[in-house]
């Protein structure tokens, strides 16, 4: 991507460069053997019953797993149960794990499935991939259509009620626990596939390739789900902050 002559409010260029790079990496990786580094060593150690290796994995992924589980279940103690069940499923599935995805994405795909099936009956009966497809295909407007001018207005398709700048909002307020609670609530209110994607991409900071692998999503679906999830969280924040 060429450098952009945009004002400093656009660090997008840096982000888009890295996701472009991630995509190329993912394509290259799919064509060759995964580098026999961390994952292989970890797998060997686990299969050999190396408790220190297992403890290290638990400590490394634990906080992220708790965070993701917590987006699906009501209490930290249930989230903890979900994480524990996940590790047991991982251990029991070690023999069958073929290494086609990374250890991390495999672990989290198990976690997401266990976490969401702890919830509603619907979550248990509908496969995640089908939920994701339904959510991506639904006709959904990320921004309330009333925010835009209609065909009879002076600027059709332009903002009727433009978003305000958040620059005047004191940083303390933006970073406060109350504001973060709103973000958490907005994410909890998302439909399951959108929630999973924003959890891995934005809460955990995973790349598009890793998220797609963990959730078994096409690039198009992943982007649509992320787009809708972010739009809803933004709208909830705008409501709260205005």
């Amino acid at each position: 991507m060429a450098a952009l002559a945009l004002p400093v409010i656009f660090p997008w260029t840096a982000r888009s460069k890295s996701s472009h790079f991630d995509r190329r990496l993912a394509v290259a990786a799919s064509r060759m053997q995964p580098p026999a580094l961390t994952d292989d060593d970890e797998l060997t150690a686990l299969r050999a019953g190396d408790e220190a290796a297992f403890a290290a994995l638990v400590d490394r992924y634990g906080p992220s797993m708790m965070r993701v589980a917590r987006l699906y279940v009501r209490t930290p103690s249930v989230a903890e149960e979900v994480v524990q069940e996940t590790w047991l499923a991982v251990l029991n599935g070690l023999d069958r794990f073929e290494g086609r995805s990374s250890l991390k994405t495999w672990i989290f795909s198990i976690l997401v499935n266990i976490a969401r099936t702890r919830g509603t009956r619907e979550a248990r009966s509908v496969p995640f991939s089908e939920l994701a497809a339904r959510e991506a295909d639904a006709d959904e407007a990320p921004v309330d259509p009333d925010r835009f001018q209609g065909t009879r207005d002076p600027q059709p398709g332009g903002w009727a009620v433009p978003p305000a700048s958040w620059a005047p909002i004191p940083e303390q307020r933006l970073l406060s626990d109350e504001t973060l609670e709103r973000v958490r609530d907005a994410i909890a209110a998302l439909p399951p596939a959108q929630r999973a994607v924003i959890a891995l991409r934005d809460v955990e900071g995973w790349s598009s390739a890793e998220t797609r692998a963990a959730l078994d999503l096409s690039e198009g679906n992943q982007r649509v789900l992320l787009h809708r999830a972010r739009a809803k969280v933004r709208a909830a924040l705008e409501d709260y902050l205005s």
Binding site: L6, W12, P63, W87, G157, L174, T179
Partner: protein, 90 residues
């Protein structure tokens, strides 16, 4: 582009705000084609509402990234290591 219902797509015409908000994620991911990227940036240079929208989205993503962790409790961690030893023996 799947994001945009076809009734909103007007190739080659300047972007309207309602169209821009559909393209934001693709822009950030770097998946817009060159022409759509140019249209996006050209619009944003001139439109305060859209500048604020994109800023708000950027802030939203940053805040989402700040949701904090709860680590596993000591008890849970001990149980897991115990489970690991049981699993090893089986």
């Amino acid at each position: 582009m799947r994001l945009l219902p076809s009734r909103f797509r007007r190739r080659g015409q300047p972007l309207r705000c309602r169209e821009l908000v559909e393209l934001v994620t693709a822009y950030v991911e770097g998946t817009l084609d060159a022409r759509e990227r140019e249209r996006f940036e050209a619009h944003v240079r001139l439109c305060d509402g859209c500048v604020h929208y994109v800023e708000q989205l950027r802030t939203t993503i940053a805040l989402t990234g700040r949701l904090d962790h709860a680590a596993l409790s000591d008890g849970a961690r001990r149980e897991l290591l115990h489970a690991f030893r049981e699993w090893k023996r089986a």
